[in-house]
Point group: C2
Chain length 384, copies 2
Amino acid sequence: MALDESSLQKFGYMEREPLNAINIDPLQTGGILTDEARQALVQWGDGYSVCDFCPGTLDQIKKPKIKDFVHEALPEFIGADEVRVTNGARESKFAVMHSVANEGDWIVLDNLAHYSSHVAAQRARLNTETVSSTGHPDYWIDPEGYATAIENVIDENGKPPSMALLTYPDGNYGNLPDAKKVASICHEYDVPLLLNCAYSIGRMPVDANDIGADFIVGSGHKSMASSGPIGVLGVSEEYSDIVFRKSPTHKKKEIELLGCTARGATLMTMIASFPNVVKRTREWDREVENARWFSEKLENLGMTQVGDKPHNHDLMFFEAPNIYEISQKAKSGRYFLYKELKSRNIHGIKAGLTKFFKLSTFGAGRENLSTVVDAFDEIIKKYE
Amino acid sequence: MALDESSLQKFGYMEREPLNAINIDPLQTGGILTDEARQALVQWGDGYSVCDFCPGTLDQIKKPKIKDFVHEALPEFIGADEVRVTNGARESKFAVMHSVANEGDWIVLDNLAHYSSHVAAQRARLNTETVSSTGHPDYWIDPEGYATAIENVIDENGKPPSMALLTYPDGNYGNLPDAKKVASICHEYDVPLLLNCAYSIGRMPVDANDIGADFIVGSGHKSMASSGPIGVLGVSEEYSDIVFRKSPTHKKKEIELLGCTARGATLMTMIASFPNVVKRTREWDREVENARWFSEKLENLGMTQVGDKPHNHDLMFFEAPNIYEISQKAKSGRYFLYKELKSRNIHGIKAGLTKFFKLSTFGAGRENLSTVVDAFDEIIKKYE
């Protein structure tokens, strides 16, 4: 591509089509910015803006109040001894794996784990032993599966895995496993546990110390109303010198964070949204009620919600044989559902899916959720 | 910190004090957003906004036009066979080191390298052999130093280093070494070269293929008018299967990028600014003229610019014995210069520095630079 006037015109400012839709995309519902975060973006958007008064370490910046946020507010919020901001939950997971395990080591993780947990392990050149769920329709993770998996690793390698990982909740079914029990089982074998809370921190109350997790990771853009990429990483005192080890040549810089992570507006949006985010986690019960109400309504329309039931999270997976049947004869084929929802200003179910799909009710409120339920009702009737 | 109403009030939206100052901070001058990027921030600020229509891989997204940007425009702009966006230049450097070198291997780098080059090598658990500059006052990197360093590594380890790194320009003196020569020397030993262009890509014309660099990294927030953290990574065809290797379990995901990097507004600001950024690199001569003019003016006021002379970049390092002398008797001591400049709405020389400091003239324009020169003149006269 020659970079002449006409090809350059392809770039520049672009508009986002689904911006003002009712959004039920699990990836997006928890990352919609607060008004304060939107203001922060404009104020702090310039590159390296937060570094105006940097003393050499991002988390030590006093102006703006990053130090208090990282060292006082976040540890209290997620119940971790030491916290840092990172470039995302996956970057947090890799940082932990790369710190506590050596190449060739084994780790244990649930088979509902996000793909990025597997890819992080592959990047760290680790082997993985998975804990199976019960499969369809509950996809339940039995905590005892962690004991079995750890023992398998010991049997095969003569030593326990370097760590275990539990997805809380998983990103397909929104299932919340018994994390406390998993932590306690892992600790019986002296195996530290990482809790992947990309879909929980910022949505619901989570406390790493209460659960007994040694590492906890969260996602700003997924669940903390932040502009990404940004995540959080909480580490227990026992492991903080390992994960946050400093450079021998550049004493202020933490090696695993490459010295500095969310060096810009992303962090300021997380701080801007924080008061609202803390408060919304205190109203989590209402979100669960909305999810259950929505699940019941969709089931009344002929779909089936799989995973935990009654459900405990806004992320839900539905099987929709009736919608699939319509797609077999509809003019737009498997894209008919996407188009029908789009024409009703509803965004978030992946285009082309009909037989099953996931969605999230987080933050939508009962009124918008009613609109979505009515839309499904209308669409089904339209094709009857 | 209890997260009650009064402590939460410490966070939320904050204003940025130096936002509208004349900015000469080397970290910041190339990262000031264009109007288009500021608009993009508001439009694409929500978490995972760019993923509305993701086919499973960030760089393959067609709407917005990420695929064309990453696979057509960027390769042309930086002269690299394959390009990806990353979370920043340091993240790009680590990705390359972690891909092409094994733990315990050696790499060679210039001793003007940014701290994050060293920290990236430490994170990848590599050993480093440095190429010295000529020291004060030129800080010149002799390309032949790379031959010596490579031979030292061979002598000590029986094999050449896994790669070499050259900083182009360095972040202290703004020196532009003979990168072509360094590349050619490295290739004589079959050692691939990474060019750290955090301070050049987006400011001045740079072409990896023309120089002969195997890897090239740039920084969006430092030099491409982007909201960070975001960077670019260019790789020659020869190494692209290694650096961008895919997951065996998740076929669309590139391991070294953890599947996905700049998954949000950061990328949209880079795309929004791109037409302007391309055009400004074509006016680089004017920036160099401004830098030289500014350097001469400051030297006339009793300061000395060290490094390349005449200078070839907007980033410059000054020694200021006269300013230091004033600080010895000024009421605010070593903070006097910062305060005097601040009162004249000039930001970017690190608070507390007087004996020497670095600054950048990039994008300021002759009028603002005259204001800065006049400010120094006034300040010196005031304390005479």
